[in-house]
């Protein structure tokens, strides 16, 4: 005698069974028992106790969220800073002879170029949506905060800041970004990217 398959039993449970299966189940005690077992298994699965996380992941989630917020602030600061800086540089170059400003200008351009290159290379280690340990996230957040602080200084003070100081600030920014890249590259290697 032909019996219901598990597909048939599942369809019966869902109210989508074939005419044959619906008719068969009314007369076959074996299939009735199988269907009852299926119902019982589902009930038992639903009644399984909740599994609880073995560790608290909130500190890691919180640190990553803070780092992301800091990065967003930094991005906005960097854009406004870059625009204002460009305007300030244009003014400085107009009033300073090339012999005095040329070297500093070259150093400033170089630091900005290095900064832009590091920004690009950091994109490949973008941590959005990836898992960071609490310690790594804290290091990244700290570096991003420090970069953000420099960006804030650049954005607020550049109009009255000497070019030599601008060069120093941009070079500090480059150094911090190198550290940031190293932190993210280490993590990326750890997760096998």
């Amino acid at each position: 005698m032909m019996h219901c398959t598990m597909e048939d039993l599942g369809a019966l449970r869902a109210g989508e069974a074939s005419v044959w299966a619906r008719r068969h189940i009314t007369t076959c005690a074996t299939c009735q028992a199988e269907l009852e077992l299926l119902y019982q298994r589902v009930s038992q699965l639903k009644a399984l106790p909740a599994l609880r996380p073995p560790r608290d992941r909130w500190p890691a989630v919180q640190a990553t969220l803070r780092a992301q917020r800091s990065r967003r602030r930094r991005t906005v600061g960097a854009w406004s800073g870059s625009l204002a800086l460009a305007a300030a540089l244009a003014g400085i170059l107009l009033v300073q002879p090339w012999s005095q400003g040329g070297k500093l200008h070259a150093e400033l351009s170089q630091a900005k170029q290095q900064s832009a290159t590091l920004e690009d290379s950091l994109q490949q280690y973008d941590i959005e949506g990836r898992v960071l340990s609490g310690r790594t996230a804290a290091v990244v957040a700290d570096l991003e905060d420090r970069i953000s602080a420099i960006d804030g200084t650049l954005a607020q003070r550049q109009l009255e800041t000497q070019q030599a100081e601008l060069v120093k600030l941009w070079q500090q920014r480059v150094d911090l970004m190198r550290e940031l890249k190293h932190a993210r590259a280490t993590r990326a290697r750890y997760v096998g990217l």
Partner: protein
Amino acid sequence: MTVALAVPDVLVARAQAGDEAALEALYRAFETPVYNLVRRMLRRPEDAEDVVQETFLEVLRSIKQYRGEGHLWGWVRRIASTKALMRIRRDHVRATESLDEEPGKPGMHVGANIDLERAFEQLSETSRAVVWLHDVEGYTHEEIADQMGKSVSFSKSQLARAHARLRRMLDEGAHA
């Protein structure tokens, strides 16, 4: 496990405004149900923990986009299950294992008195995911197929195969 989580609207509004205490309160409210869901779907506890973290990063980052349509738990659950399924797919790709392949344990013998929970753990992650999402969380085959990027018939056949396997393991355990 049936989850009936109600989160006050004011808490959601505070979280949407970026209040960190509210974000943590949301995390605490859904931490266990999210872990339970993904742990039932995934074989390794450490994978489940990673998916919990990924889920909450997404939830808390996107909470501003939550418009209040439907239950918040439904929204969180959807993100969690999607991320767990992505993990299953990624791991299968890495292991060059077919998505619908049972992992198989040569010579595995299910001992006497095996209970349903242990039998369930023997299933492949794909089977576990389909069974849990359909039978416990109440997803339709259409929803599961959509989330897995597979057909409805794939979801149905996975469910049937999984139940047949559970049935067999429990039967063997009872008669061992």
